[in-house]
Amino acid sequence: MSKQKGGPKGWKDLPIGGMITEAGNAATYNTGAWRSEKPIWIEENCIQCLFCWIYCPDSSVTTKDGKRAAFDYMHCKGCGVCAMECPSKVKAIVMVPEADGSAPDILDRAKAIAKKMADEKAAEKAAGKEAKDA
């Protein structure tokens, strides 16, 4: 691979042994590129519990004035912990395939997934109650 102008440095110009000489440069590393699933936040379902902010292992849930704000997609690796922990009756975070993540209607699709999940859960609960009553 030849050195490209403005691209990564060649072996003669890099610090030896992979040493990193800039402090805190993990911030500039686009780990979001590792994602296979993307979390979508549905604001209208959000109860502002901030569980997602607490659980996110990569500090990729941002806040503004103490309220839930947008995902930091540059660093979110798509682990799905936020969606799993979201306690809303109708989920405020759902995971979608990364390939669909930038579709213009992705929010509507996410809402539909959240609703379907909630409906299924309700049906399961009802079935459980019926079984108990029988």
Binding site: P8, W11, P15, G17, G18
Partner: protein, 394 residues
């Protein structure tokens, strides 16, 4: 003035370490290298050095402690043998990959199983691809001299790589020989104060990360750096060997040529066995046989052009390996030397003998036999056995 002393190889190396006065040493004992650290720990206890001696729970930890201390900015030394070196394996690559100029005395010993504590080269030969510079010594004097030169080689700004300084277990490590120790001040001046040319962990004004994740986009560039650095070590070894010669009267190069210039039959033999083989070379020369010997000193980086040039006029060469490379076409020295001579227009015939495993004696008669075979080979021009064990019972 240098003084004549009688010392074992181990005590000689411990004294070199005392004179170098490293910042940190990590110690975990294993025969036959134990005596180095045992002796050195008494120097620490007596206040003869300022070294922080870290006693650890394994060789893996010993090398890990050395890596940490070296990355922190210290001059670091250590000693081990055989299975101890094997347990360091993972960390050997981390030391070289992080470009940390640690010095390790490897007192060569056979690897288990079966358990054997005696001299053979399986340990350091197995580590030949770990990115360490490897120096080999025939006797206590050379082991001492190599240890004194090792920090200067590894720490050179063009190199920045760890150095393994090897000698034969028991045969050299535990035998008392007459040798010369340099003055403490001479060694101190020769080695010089250590200051890392790259940022170190204890320099908190310039924080760095050592050993981070390095994926498809950078790993290969860092391996290329390492590849070039170890190649540069060859010239540094020559320079340091010359400078050491001015100080001590004993100049070192890449290997020793013993009556090789007009030799028709030659041995390539490493470490202590070279001393025995020289006796037979002398004996044959008296009888008119043009015998010679090449004793490698620097094995990594391997000076393939120089050895090819030194051996190119021989008719038949036997490379002696005190180590098997199981399943390969001969031992590790043989593979290197045979490859080095491939490009010589009229290449000599070459055979390989594997000898002395687990400290098995190599006697004068054994070497006579090898030379006899070489003479026959030179006359017949036909190799019948490419490689075989000698000094073994059928």
């Amino acid at each position: 003035m240098p003084k004549k002393v009688a010392m074992t190889g181990n005590v000689a190396v411990a004294n070199a370490m005392r004179q170098i006065n490293p910042d940190v040493c990590a110690a975990y004992p294993i025969t036959p290298s134990t005596e180095i650290m045992q002796q050195f720990s008494s120097f620490v206890a007596d206040g003869l050095v300022n070294t922080n001696l870290v006693t650890v729970e394994s060789e893996h930890s010993a090398m890990s402690a050395c890596i940490g201390a070296c990355a922190a900015g210290g001059r670091v030394m250590n000693a081990t043998s055989a299975n101890g070196l094997a347990l360091m394996w993972e960390m050997l690559y981390i030391a070289s990959g992080n470009r940390l100029p640690i010095v390790l005395s490897c007192v060569n010993r056979a690897l288990s199983a079966p358990i054997n504590i005696h001299g053979d080269h399986s340990d350091s030969m197995g580590a030949r691809d770990s990115g360490w510079i490897q120096l080999y010594a025939e006797n206590a004097q050379e082991a001492y001299d190599n240890t004194v030169q090792a920090p200067k080689i590894g720490e050179h700004p063009d190199v920045r790589l760890p150095v393994m300084s090897c000698m034969d277990g028991f045969i050299i490590s535990h035998s008392i020989e007459n040798m010369e120790l340099l003055d403490d001040e001479q060694v101190k001046k020769f080695v010089g104060a250590y200051k890392s040319p790259v940022p170190v962990l204890l320099d908190t004004d310039h924080p760095v990360t050592v050993g981070p994740l390095d994926l498809q986009d950078y790993y290969m560039e860092h391996k290329k750096q390492q590849h070039e650095a170890i190649k540069k070590a060859k010239n540094v070894v020559i320079e340091v060997g010359k400078e050491f010669g001015k100080l001590s009267g004993r100049t070192y190069g890449l290997f020793e040529n013993y009556k090789l210039k007009d030799a028709e039959v030659a041995l390539v033999v490493l470490n202590s066995a070279a001393g025995t083989a020289k006796v037979i070379v002398d004996e044959l020369r008296k009888k008119g046989v043009k015998a010679g010997l090449l004793k490698p000193r620097l094995f990594r980086p391997f000076p393939y052009l120089e050895v090819a040039s030194a051996l190119k006029n021989c008719s038949a060469i036997c490379v002696m390996d005190r180590c098997d490379s199981f399943g390969a076409a001969g031992g590790p020295l043989f593979s290197e030397f045979r490859s080095a001579l491939y490009d010589v227009p009229e290449r000599p015939m070459m055979i390989n003998k594997i000898y002395g495993l687990g400290g098995r004696d190599l006697g004068l008669d054994d070497i006579r036999k090898v030379f006899r075979e070489l003479v026959t080979l030179a006359e017949s021009g036909k190799v019948t056995k490419l490689y075989e064990y000698i000094t073994v019972r059928e």
